[in-house]
């Protein structure tokens, strides 16, 4: 029974690790995308200022 508890823990731990790693990867992608969007918008504004 002890072994069963140990492997039950491994099972739940594995499931949560997959969820957490996936959520972190999504959060990192979100930050990267928002940074990129800000950079492109800034670039566009600078370009428009220069053309004036």
């Amino acid at each position: 029974m002890d072994r069963n508890f140990e492997y039950m823990f491994y099972g739940f731990a594995a499931a949560w690790i997959i969820v957490i790693v996936y959520v972190i990867s999504i959060a990192l992608r979100e930050r990267r995308l928002r940074d990129e969007l800000d950079r492109v918008k800034r670039m566009l504004e600078e370009g428009q200022r220069e053309s004036k």
Binding site: M1, F5, M8, F12, A14, A15, E30, S51
Partner: protein, 227 residues
């Protein structure tokens, strides 16, 4: 509006998961022959059912794309498939850990497990293909076709425990013609299915929001290049 919905879905999923974990660990007794490890089933089954549901929704989204040629449906399908893939991986890993104790082996080339593995490989191929093809409509068309092909394998995975009686246990739940679970043991399973579905919906909405940001970036770049 979308952010508010994501928050609501996440909070609901978190609360339901916390309540379910309390029930699974503190209220549900050990299974007579398997002991405590049978509790893995409370994550294994909901992850499988909800990921299959998502794969099918993504397949329908792909079909709608093929009909309307609207890239928003392709974006939705890709977001749904990605989230479903993460949960399908949970099913495979938790199943392997359960099998290590109950069967004494990590892996068996059993029809259910093999077809499931093939299903994961097909969706892995789906994501590889999406990275490889740049032209949006070509990528969307190929994705939809791959999604349809992979969903055929999902039907095989689902029915394999009825068609072939090998290593993997046959249907357990009464709704699938199995012997059923003891009173009080089945309800947390369905509640967990709902919790997983809520969590997956929140994640899909986040991925879809990210895809809108991505297309905004691309359209701004096109606009910048036009000048």
């Amino acid at each position: 509006m979308r952010t508010k919905l994501i928050v609501i879905l996440s909070v609901l999923a978190g609360a339901l998961l916390a309540w379910n974990l309390h029930t699974i660990f503190l209220r549900v007794p050990d299974e007579a022959s398997q002991g405590a490890i049978f509790r893995i089933f409370y994550f294994h089954f909901p992850a499988a059912v909800t990921s299959f549901t998502c794969f099918f929704v993504a397949m329908f989204s792909g079909l709608v794309y093929l009909n309307k040629r609207d890239l928003r449906f392709d974006a939705a399908a890709a977001a749904i498939n990605e989230v479903a893939f993460a949960f399908a991986t949970i099913t495979l890993i938790t199943g392997m850990i359960w099998g290590r104790i109950i069967w004494g082996i990590w892996w068996a080339w059993d029809p259910r497990i093999t077809s499931y593995f093939i299903c994961l490989l097909m969706y892995f191929g789906y994501f590889m293909m999406r990275r490889a093809v740049d032209e949006p409509h070509r990528r969307a068309r190929l994705s939809a076709v791959l999604s349809i092909l992979a969903s055929v394998d999902i039907v095989i995975v689902w029915k394999s425990i009825e068609w072939f009686r090998t290593q993997h246990p046959g249907p357990v739940l009464e709704i699938r013609g199995g012997g059923g679970m003891a009173p009080g043991m089945e309800a947390p399973l369905f509640w967990n299915c709902l919790a997983f579905l809520l969590l997956e919906s929140a994640l899909v909405l986040v991925r879809m929001r990210q895809q809108s940001i991505q297309s905004e970036i691309e359209s701004l770049r096109r606009y910048a290049h036009a000048f």
